[in-house]
Every structure is written in C-alpha cells, then in structure tokens.
C-alpha cells in the first residue's frame, strides 16, 4: 500500500499529464460520434458574446458590399409581391386562417428567419459558423442556412439559448444532397478540406450530359428548400472505374465574407423524418420475418 502511494507521489506530474490528455481526447472523439462537444453549449454563450462584439466592429468595413447584396435580394422579392399581379375575377373571395395557408390555399412549408454571422472560418478542415440566434429565438438543429445572395451555406448542428453553430459546407464531414438544375439528377456534395472555393459533387450518373458551367441547386431531399443555388460546375473528372461523374463545383456562396444569413425551418421536417424512420423499421421487420 505504501509503495502505491510512493509511486503516485513520484509520478504525480506524469499521471496528471495523462489525465489531462485523456480529458482532451475524450472531448475530441466524443464530439465526432454525437456531433456535440462537452460544454460547447455554455461555452457557445461566452464565445458568442465576445465574437458579436468583435463582429460589430468588423461589419463596418463590409457595409457597402452587403448593402448591395441585400438590395438585390429585396429587389427580387418585391417582384413577387401580390400587388404586382391583378386578379381577373374579384367577385368571390375565400377567407381562411392565413397562418398555415397562403392565398391560394397552399400549406406553408418553410419559415425564414434572419440571423447575423458572428464568427466564421475558412482555413480549417472543419469550419463552423456561429450565428447570433439560438433556441430561444426558434433555431433548432438541422435547419438550413442560406446567405443573403440565396446560396446554400450550411446546416445548424448545435444551439445554445442565444447563439447557434452551423456546420459550413466547408466541413470535411458535411454531406448534403443536391440536384443538377438542368436534369434534376440528385447527387451528394462533400468538401475535400483543401480549397474553400471548390466543393466536390459525386453520384451524378454519366447518362446526364453535364457541361462546364451547369448550375447545381439544393434538392428536396435535404433540409434545404429546393432550388437554391449551391454552385456551378467548374471541372468534370471522368472517373473511368464507375458510372458516375466526380464534379468540382465552384461555390455560389462567398464563404470569406458571410454576414447576413437566413435560417430556414422546414415545418414538415419532423413528419418527414418520422415517416422515414417508421418505413425503415417496417422494412427491417419484414426482412426479419421473411425466411
């Protein structure tokens, strides 16, 4: 017993070193599996506050470019106002609760919320974006994030009361479903962790006639609403071993100067994921029951 105490006293620093290493590695690898870090919730509140103070100074230097973008976006939205159109038949009018329906009786599927980027990097392999809206403002995990140009930026992965963290498309573990605008073929975009100007698009079949400059948009299979720009095809790599293209995409969003973004909530997301899980369960059960 005495020897054990002597041993501990003698190698106390080394044991402390091992303990700290274990703690750090536990944080690191635990995060990967569950998409969450220990204590990232409360640390997010603190770093978020410091970051937003810094950002309010930094924003000043990008006001002009951001203004132009916002103006452009406003312009395109103003064109969609119902006041721009005239109805031929005005004698009948159907009055309904306006919240879940629009004037044509369509269900509302997406709610847009604006948010400001308080911290963003592009030089890491895993880039995250921090926003100044959290779960108290209605942000939840898996919501899509689109910048003020209307280009896909990332997906929310973690929230604290007043701030949230977004996994940028420039993240080596990010895999999002997208579609070719021309043919509607679905593929997956990834990032190779190298150049922040380019993404990699996989799983587009060779039957699709892709040409350089083709537009790639978000697809309905993801948490993004369909049809928002992701990028344009910059290079076509003809992989002889498979029936699929590997395409290099030029990103549509400029990740270097993100400032204002929209966070998009899919109101049917829960229903969709529930259906998907139930289907999976049912198929699994049938497979198990059949010999």
């Amino acid at each position: 017993m005495r020897n054990i105490f002597l041993f501990i006293r003698r190698y106390f620093t080394f044991l402390a070193f091992l303990a700290f290493q274990a703690a750090a590695l536990y944080f690191l690898f635990n995060y990967n599996r569950f998409h969450r870090a220990r204590g990232l919730g409360w640390a997010n509140e603190i770093t978020g506050r410091i970051n937003s103070n810094y950002k309010s100074v930094d924003d000043f230097f990008h006001l002009k470019a951001e203004n132009q973008r916002v103006h452009r976006m406003n312009d395109s939205l103003l064109n969609l106002l119902p006041a721009n159109f005239m109805k031929l038949d005005t004698s009948t009018q159907l009055v309904r609760d306006t919240l879940p329906y629009d004037t044509l009786g369509n269900y509302r599927r997406y709610i847009w919320r604006n948010a400001r980027v308080v911290y963003n990097t592009v030089n890491q392999q895993k880039n995250y974006i921090q926003l100044n809206r959290g779960h108290e403002q209605g942000i939840r995990d898996d919501m899509a994030v689109i910048n003020s140009d209307g280009c896909a930026v990332g997906v929310v992965v973690n929230t604290s009361p007043n701030f949230s963290q977004v996994m940028s498309l420039l993240h080596v573990q990010s895999k999002r479903s997208v579609a070719m605008k021309r043919s509607g073929n679905n593929g997956t975009i990834e990032w190779d962790g190298k150049n922040p100007l380019y993404l990699t698009l996989k799983n587009i079949p060779k039957s699709d006639s892709v040409v350089k400059g083709d537009t790639v948009v978000t697809s309905i299979n993801s948490s993004f609403p369909a049809g928002f720009m992701v990028g344009t095809v910059a290079e076509i790599v003809d992989d002889k071993s498979t029936n699929f293209y590997v395409l290099r995409l030029k990103t549509a969003a400029n990740f270097f100067n993100l400032q204002q973004v929209h966070v998009i909530e899919n109101l049917q997301f829960e229903e969709q994921t529930k259906l998907l899980e139930e289907t999976k369960k049912r198929i699994d059960n049938e497979n198990r029951n059949s010999p």
Binding site: F20, Q21, L25, N32, G39, L40, A43, Y54, T121, V172
Partner: protein
Amino acid sequence: MSELVRNIIRFILFILAQVYLLNQLHLHQYIIPYIYYLFILWLPFSVSRLGLLLIGFLTGLTLDYFSMQVGVHAAACTLIAYLRPFVINILAPKDSSEFNYREPSPRAMGWTPYLVYVLILTVFHHFYMTFLQWLQFGSFMDFLIKVVSTTGISMLLVITVELLFPRKMKFRTNTA
C-alpha cells in the same frame, strides 16, 4: 506590473490574436499560422510542473471553444506544457546553477538555445495537433506537408514577435 497580471494580459492578447487575426487568414490549405502556444513557452521558470499542465490545458481549451473543435488544441498544449521543463533542462546553461532571468527569452537563454527550445516544442505541438486531425480526415502526405509548413510559418511568426516586442527583463538579483 506583477507577474500574474502580465501573464493574464498576455493570455488574452495571444488568444485574441489567434482567434481574430490568424484563424481568419487564408494563406493556403497547408499553411495555418499559429502563435497562441507561445504563451505557454513564455511562462516564468518558477511555475511548477503541475501548474504548467493546468495552464496548458486551459489555454488549449479556450482556443478549442473559440474554434469549435473541442480537444485538439487542449491535447497539444498539454503535451508541450509537460515537455517544457525537460527541454529547458537540456538547454540550460551549464555554468550557472540557476537562471538569472524570470522567463525563457532570447536574452535569458541566448538566441540559439532559445530558438532550439521554441523549435522543439513547436514541432511537438504541430505534429500532435495535425496528427489528431489526420486521424479523422486526410491523407498521409497532407499530414506531413502540413506539419512542416505549419511549423515553418509558426517559427517565422515567433521570430518576428521576438524582434518586434523585445521583453525588457529585470536581472534577478539576490537583493530583490
């Protein structure tokens, strides 16, 4: 200014410089400049080994929470905080039993031993950090190139900082 206050200010400045200046730079995919770990290298000789470990871990963790990848920097910082006393012992001037200055600096150790000290710990820091990142993603060549290039740019930064901000250090005497 007391030792403690000076080191707290240093800590804040190093973290801010790393988070808002160097992490925002995009030079090249392989070249990510790091300077914040110099805080650990600049700690006074008088800090105990256990204290070094604790400070190293907390420094790394602070940066981790800012860059939102928890664990990578904390592990690397703990490693260099653990190795620091051994490296100093190897490079200590043999003729004097004690250091005459309070903390490692080119004036306290001489330029060559100081740069060797910084180089060894920089290599350990970047090697371990890049290794942990490589475990999760990347090819082996990328890993090697990244260690070398990141070490290069960090050494350049350290030398620049040493030349730009020479620390005026009081000679430690018996009377003081």
